[in-house]
Amino acid sequence: MAKTIDQHLDNLRETRVWRSIFRSGTGSSTLKRALAIQQNVFLHLFSTKVRTRMLSFSATWYLGTLTLGTFFILVATGIPLMLYYHPSAPKAYADTKDLQFVVSSGMFLRNLHRWSAHAMVFLVFAHMFKVFYRGAYRTPREFNWVIGVILLLITLLLSYTGYLLPWDQLAYWAITVGSNIASAVPFLGNKIHFLLLGGNAVNANALLRFYVLHCMILPLTAMFFVAIHFWRIRKDGGLYSHASEPSTLRAKAAARDAPAKEAR
């Protein structure tokens, strides 16, 4: 009788190579399953155990996960776009046109990048509204809310810096207006404007600075804070669930004990 796929997978998991890569070993005991999460560099950021209820759609509407999903799409589409794009004043607009009309699948990648960017901004806001109205920002999760606000700002800055890169009229004037808004900062405004653009007007220097911010500095900063954001979910006791919060449990216990005391 032929082996089933599961049996083949089990055999694979027993091999020396597999065991050298995945330290947690095989088996589906609670311990082994916990180790599979805890001993994985990526998964160990998350809680080892999660209530099934917290994985249901209604608990979070998956808004945070979907935001991360759009971020991954943006990285995966953004890197190939970089291969055809020169961040220089004479080439940027022509390269954008080429990506749209000449490069194979260029239009698909560019549009996917753009739509995902819009979706990410929408999802970040939706995620924050959901967290806010559930009251999930409260102690001990206040700091994770602060990290979330930083991530919102990074998301908006990513959108803003990416907006200049096509180097068309819309981009040029949007960044002219946006950078002039930065000049309104008291005392430091003009200095910030000058440093942001690398000059007095939106020019070749500004294009290069926005490119570096958009493709390197901001995504790396975002990843840094996303890592802290996820790690804090575990440290703060998992996703927020009103019924399982310590204060709810204490109140419940008090209500249970109160009549017993009176009877005594």
């Binding site: 004037w173 002219t176 207006v177 002039n180 007007a201 020019n203 220097n205």
Partner: protein, 164 residues
């Protein structure tokens, strides 16, 4: 060790360990300040390859009497009025958009947020906080009008016009 530290503090003296710790932290502080200054200086370009602020607007004959002419590339208006030639910045004082002359209405209007200005730069309405600034204008030896975009002059003053 604890006792030693306590006595040292009580006498307002620093023992060797504390001295080296302070020396190390102090050096790190100086290095951090130096790095901040270094980073700031690096981020500020020393040479700008931007267009010259002085524009050659050509022969005055190009501008008929009572005309307002926008030079899109340099962002200035050359206006030939009864009092003479003068130059106005075409960059909106609100958020830096390029304004346009509307001959049918006789006003300067900004497409971005709807600011409107008179022909002499005075604001009519909109979010612009200031009037459009007047720019220094003069004739060079070849008889061309030159405008210095980096120098503002007081509006409607005798010296702010060029008469040919």
């Amino acid at each position: 060790m604890m006792d030693e530290t306590k006595t040292a503090n009580a006498n307002d003296q620093v023992n060797r360990r504390q001295f080296f710790a302070k020396l190390g932290l102090g050096s790190l502080g100086i290095a951090a300040a130096g790095t901040a200054a270094f980073a700031y200086q690096f981020l500020e370009p020393n040479v700008l390859y931007e267009p010259s602020p002085v524009i050659d607007a050509g022969n005055p004959d190009r501008y008929p009497l009572d005309s307002v002419t926008l030079d899109v590339n340099s962002g200035i208006y050359i206006i030939h009025s009864q009092e003479g030639y003068f130059s106005l910045s075409a960059v909106c004082t609100h958020l830096g958009c390029l304004t346009a002359w509307k001959p049918e209405l006789g006003i300067i209007a900004c497409p971005c947020h709807g600011s409107k200005f008179k022909q002499n730069g005075e604001k009519i309405e909109g979010p612009a906080p200031k009037p459009l600034p007047w720019k220094r204008i003069w004739l060079n030896d070849d008889g061309d009008l030159l405008v210095d975009r980096s120098t503002d002059v007081p509006p409607l003053q005798r010296d702010s016009f060029v008469r040919v």
